[in-house]
């Protein structure tokens, strides 16, 4: 009789101990680690910091709904500081030390190119949320931003149209790295195919972080005397602020010389007085001003999140295209993991094909069955006085991406599915 209570109590105690220990160990083992690889300092911080915050918000949201496969997502944030070799180092750290199951990150193509070998070597999974130049299709990357035919080409077609000002001459201005150089190569071939001669195209590059745009703006003015001119800007990072300031100071208005930018969105315009810039253009796949219920909820959620987390400038928080692409990317990945029933990279990759998601852009976006890119709608927006964009032109529906642009020679022989680059 005496043994029983003892047995009971030991059992109870061990059960208690187990129940005390076990959930704890379960929780520790059963989170899914998600890497976030965005520059939080340096020249790209102006663009990338908000992507980090957007990723954290989306992860919070998924966790609040019960996580993925019943497990909570655990973000691992690192800062590669706009330093390209550091991107590769941090990526390796995320994959081999933190053992993340997926990474959301990179903005510039040069940073993506520097982490690509790491992801291919260690079979990691990277979601890249920014428009880029194409010419790449890695099995370890999903591209949720636009390929050239989903941004650059439609933008130039718009400039050529009557409503876009029927431009005859094109000034291609970019930061000196792979994205602007390749995009301009594609655009030059495209312009040739439309009958624009080389003398009507000028290509100029500046270093990262360049801040003296006097000569270049004077050159643009000189160039524009030869006929209706449009500027196609692939300037990235905080150089955009001095560039637009100089345009305004030298009295260039959008009605005379429209500037269409591929890397300037609502976030970059926060630091500039936009009154002299009204009418300047940007081409994206989403603008904050797009009106639909999904977007209103998305914008409201972001504003509330910015306020709750006390982010810098929270009272003027805006959303932009790469933020939307980050949001879509994380949600699609979560859906794919649920479908695959595992976070294993190979299984998730297969499950990603054909995933759909009702995006804030107002369309249900589809991940292509083979080429790792989203089908996206294209929109051209004009800068308004309040720093927002007003859509002046858009495609009828989502376009399929062409990562291998037909305007670059030899691309017609490249396969339309992902192959390791080396």
């Amino acid at each position: 009789m005496k043994r029983r209570p003892l047995l009971k109590s030991t059992l109870a105690a061990s059960a208690l101990l187990l129940s005390g220990l076990f959930p704890f160990t379960v929780q520790a083992a059963e989170t899914i680690k998600v890497g976030i690889l965005h520059s939080l300092s340096g020249t790209m911080a102006i663009s990338e910091t908000s992507l980090k915050d957007m990723a954290l918000m989306t992860i919070d949201e998924i966790n609040a709904k019960g996580g993925v496969l019943g497990k909570q997502l655990e973000p691992v944030v690192v800062d590669p500081a706009s330093n390209w070799p550091l991107f590769a180092e941090r990526a390796r750290q995320l994959l081999s030390q933190d053992k993340v199951d997926v990474t959301f990150g990179c903005w510039t193509s040069v940073s993506r190119k520097s982490v690509l070998p790491v992801y291919e070597e260690l079979n990691g999974l990277l979601f890249y949320p920014v428009q880029y130049e194409g010419e790449e299709l890695s099995p370890n990357v999903f591209y949720t931003g636009a390929a050239p035919n989903q941004q650059a080409i439609p933008a130039v077609e718009y400039l050529m149209s009557e409503d876009g000002g029927a431009a005859k001459r094109y000034f291609l201005l970019g930061t000196d790295y792979v994205y602007p150089r390749t995009t301009n190569k594609i655009l030059r071939a495209f312009l040739h195919s439309k009958g624009v001669a080389d003398k009507d195209i000028q290509e100029v590059y500046t270093p990262f972080g360049h801040s003296d745009y006097q000569t270049i703006v004077a050159n643009i003015k000189k160039f524009s005397a030869g006929g209706k001119t449009a500027v196609i800007s692939t300037v990235n990072g905080d150089s955009n602020v001095p560039f637009y300031k100089e345009l305004a100071n030298q009295g260039i208005e959008a009605t005379d010389i429209p500037v269409v930018a591929f890397s300037v969105g609502e976030e970059e315009l926060r630091g500039i007085d936009t009154k002299p810039l009204v009418g300047q253009l940007a081409a994206w796949n989403y603008f904050q001003s797009v009106e639909n219920p999904v977007n209103s909820a998305f914008v409201a959620k972001w504003k509330a999140y910015a306020k709750a987390k006390n982010l810098p400038g929270a009272d003027k928080a805006v959303t932009n295209d790469p933020m939307e692409a980050t949001y879509v990317g994380i949600n699609m990945w979560a859906q794919a993991v649920e479908k695959a029933g595992s976070t294993d990279v190979d299984k998730v990759r297969d499950a990603m094909a054909g995933q759909t998601f009702a995006a804030p852009s107002g369309y249900t976006l589809t991940m292509d069955a083979t080429n790792h890119h989203l089908h996206k709608p294209v929109m051209i927006g004009e800068v308004q006085e309040d720093g927002q964009f007003e859509v002046v032109w858009q495609t009828e529906g989502p376009l399929r991406a062409q990562p291998w642009s037909p305007y670059i020679e030899g691309n017609d022989k490249k396969p339309d599915y992902a192959v390791k680059s080396n």
């Binding site: 300092s41 910091t49 409503d163 590059y205 004077a218 602020v241 001095p242 100071n249 030298q250 253009l281």
Partner: protein
């Protein structure tokens, strides 16, 4: 109910074109974008003073329409019916415009303002039409030239007319137009005249010759504008380099401290400007335009105080040990950057230009000088003059020069060398702070701001000759102008590389820099 409403609505829409005058606003609101463009073109050919409020509303983006396509004009947040007396059925939506329409609105506005009473308005309108006049406006311009009373406006109008007369049927009129255009320095005239050189376009030989001479004239004028523009941007870049380097010319040049934290003094000066701007926004928003002026002394004293504290605590222990100084100041620079990151965040902060530093002044048809750059050139020269006066005309300056030339002898004569070192270092840092205020007005303000200027600053001081203010001034302007001459030829990236290569060669040949200190040099 819905049918009754619908009928009423139909009735109203049917009545609308009948009620009162033409209803330009209603026409415009109801038209498709291409129709709107046609409407604007017809309006600019036949201006009507009654249409001016509508055009003004269009230009300022105040025209709106409700779902029944009734036009409304927004005045101070309230919508007033543009025609008739309708109350908006629901909140009207503002009209969407694109760049093409905005341009046409500008033309229409200008041709309406030709009817204005004030000659100044008419002059501005005529100038606008020189750029944008459409062939349909030929008759209008012809009539206005004949009836214009103000001589200046008439000249401007004649020019606007000449642009359109280039395709006139009468060779005599074409010839007169070509002659007129030849006398302007307008970049657009160049392209217009160039097309006339082609016999397929212009069959009259006399006009072709006139176009040839006119073109030469225009090109000469444009060249002058271009050269002046290049010289100005060179001076502007030079003045920025000078402001960045002047503080270093004192801490490194005179005191001989290899100060790697100099860039961070610039950065702190820029952040001081940001803080002053924030304070103005909070406490004196009506005087916000004056904040850069207040920021100057604040930035000077903040950075000078930090500089003096550094000198007292770290640098004074390292005099005569250049390698340790270099490492220590580099460490300080990293600490300062991280400190600013912690306090203000890693992202750039927004420093807005006040209105008097935005925009520019049109000097020649192809030359606009931005105000912020003009002010910075003037400011740089003021700082140089003040620094020179301080070093050469005051007791402190005398002491600084004495200590840098012969420390032991100066100490023997009773100069408190320790204090002088501290003050001189503070002065150098303070001047860097002033430079930071200027830099905040043209570039981005972020924790890394100093990093992008530190190399340029050392280049200027080393090139100019260590220990010489005049050398730094010459080197800064020389580098600025050389950079701006090279940039259009070979691009910004190659230009920078080439300049760096040239400086290395120059220093190899002449290690003492442009200006060498004669006699005994610093220890």
């Amino acid at each position: 109910m819905p049918t009754a409403l619908y009928r009423l609505f139909l009735l109203l829409t049917l009545l609308l074109p009948l009620t009162g005058h033409a209803g330009d606003a209603s026409d415009f609101v109801a038209a498709s974008p291409s129709k709107q463009a046609k409407l604007l073109e017809s309006w600019s050919a036949a201006p009507d003073a009654a249409r001016l409020p509508l055009l003004e509303a269009l230009q300022q983006g105040r025209l709106a329409a409700d779902s029944g396509k009734n036009p409304f004009i927004e005045v101070n947040g309230l919508y007033q019916s543009a025609e008739g007396e309708f109350a908006p059925a629901e909140a009207p939506r503002k009209l969407r415009l694109n760049n093409r329409l905005r341009g046409l609105i500008g033309t229409a506005m200008a041709s309406h303002q030709l009817l204005a009473e004030e000659p100044a308005l008419r002059l501005a309108a005529a100038r606008e039409l020189q750029k944008r006049a459409k062939p349909a406006q030929l008759g209008l311009l012809d009539a206005r030239v004949a009836s214009e009373t103000d001589a200046q406006v008439r000249t401007a109008l004649t020019l606007a007319l000449a642009n359109l007369q280039l395709v006139d049927r009468d060779p005599a009129i074409r010839l007169a137009a070509v002659r007129l255009l030849g006398e302007t320095g307008d970049p657009l005239a160049r392209t217009r005249l160039e097309t006339l050189l082609d016999p397929a376009v212009e069959d009259d030989a006399g006009v072709r010759t006139a176009a040839q001479t006119g073109l030469a004239q225009v090109k000469r004028k444009l060249l002058i504008g271009e050269l002046l523009g290049q010289a100005f941007s060179g001076l502007s870049l030079g003045s920025i380099l000078l402001l960045a380097a002047l503080g270093l010319a004192i801490t490194f040049g005179l005191l001989g401290v290899i100060n790697m934290a100099h860039g961070e003094m610039l950065m702190l000066g820029a952040y001081a400007t940001y803080m002053v701007q924030l304070l103005f926004q909070r406490f004196a928003p009506e005087a916000i335009a004056l904040y850069p002026l207040v920021a100057l002394p604040v930035a000077f004293f903040v950075t000078a105080a930090i500089g003096m504290a550094l000198e007292r605590t770290v640098i004074r222990h390292l005099y005569g040990r250049p390698l340790e100084t270099l490492l220590a100041t580099w460490g300080i620079s990293l600490i300062l950057i991280q400190l600013v990151r912690l306090l203000f965040g890693a992202q750039n902060v927004e420093v807005a230009n006040p209105y008097w530093l935005s925009g520019g002044v049109q000097v020649l048809p192809n030359l606009v000088l931005p105000y912020n750059r003009i002010v910075i050139i003037g400011f740089a020269l003021c700082v140089v003059v003040l620094t020179w006066l301080l070093l050469n005309k005051t007791r402190l300056g005398l002491n600084v020069r004495a200590v840098t030339q012969n420390r032991a002898m100066a100490a023997c004569c009773g100069v408190p060398t320790g204090r002088v070192d501290m003050l001189a270092f503070g002065l150098g840092s303070g001047i860097a702070g002033l430079g930071g205020v200027a830099l905040s007005q043209i570039g981005n303000v972020g924790p890394d701001l100093g990093q992008s200027y530190i190399i340029d600053s050392f280049l200027v001081v080393v090139l100019g000759g260590v220990g010489q203010l005049a050398g730094s001034v010459m080197a800064a302007f020389g580098l600025g102008i050389a950079n701006k001459i090279l940039e259009p030829q070979i691009g910004a990236v190659l230009g920078k590389i080439l300049i760096l290569g040239l400086i290395i060669l120059f220093i190899q040949k002449r290690p003492q820099g442009l200006f060498a200190l004669k006699g005994r040099v610093i220890d």
